[in-house]
Subunit: 135 residues, 2 copies
DNA sequence: CCTTGACCTTCCCACAATGGGAACCTTTAT
DNA sequence: ATAAAGGTTCCCATTGTGGGAAGGTCAAGG
């Protein structure tokens, strides 16, 4: 199987497969005598694993750790749980931050008439013009 | 006022101030005869505007647009409202995605005993091992 | 047999934003 | 005078992904 097929079956672009190989996330595959990378079902399996971890928002570093644990028969599931739990915390922190931004923006948009006149509470707020009444 | 003072008053690092100047987000300030950048209250005001927009999650491109509108006396507040509304949409999309990840991860962590034995539903799921019962 | 198109290879560049640091100059205070 | 603090430019790194050029390879069809 060439890199294009492996890409199609794993959902990882050929470009990224080469990159993952370059940074050592995956092992260099065998090559044909014309220097084409050859992949088998195992490699595709690894790529799918990576793809799924990435879809869950794990960084490549975290993915690398999960991959090691996956391939390590003596791993402790507690290690995996720890990575996942820490990751949940990070995601939740990010969600909270984004929600704060949305809340502020919604308030501003709500106060903005959106007509042709230049009075714009959004810009006023960004510019810190003190409003007549706090909110 | 030197760049360090402007940085302190605006909350934007000196490094970033120079970068914003380089990419054309802000105008090059006057220089002293010893080539130091001189800033006044106006420039600091602009930097604070930028800082606040960035804190609300606007990209530098969006911030640039908002800055233009802010400095344009003939701007329509509808334009600003549109940028802000679009941005809210993006943020909410991101929040939904993150919440989906958290939900999946929490389920997996919940199913993971986290002890010393290698049975780990998190890795099993990442590896797409079909579980006995779908969820 | 030879061309054409699809696929592979490596290598370099780009993004968004930010930080680190080197090498060097200026200002200020001791 | 000298040392510390802060300025200047320039280059590099990050994270993860994509684009594209220049060239090699393979399969199909005229």
């Amino acid at each position: 199987m060439n890199i294009g097929q492996a890409s199609g079956k794993s959902g990882v672009s050929a470009k990224m497969i080469r990159y993952y190989e370059q940074i050592g996330l995956i092992k260099p595959p065998l090559r044909t005598n014309s220097n084409y990378r050859r992949y088998g079902a195992d490699e595709v399996h690894v790529l799918r694993f990576i793809k799924r971890a990435r879809n869950l928002g794990f960084s490549l570093d975290e993915t690398s750790a999960l991959l090691s644990l996956w391939q390590d028969r003596s791993r402790a599931s507690a290690d995996v749980k720890e990575i996942a739990t820490a990751h949940i915390g990070e995601l939740e922190t990010k969600i909270t931050e984004l929600q704060g931004m949305v809340k502020t923006l919604k308030h501003l948009v709500h106060c903005c008439q959106g007509n042709d006149r230049p009075d714009c509470p959004i810009l006023d707020d960004l510019a810190e013009i003190p409003s007549s009444k706090g909110h």
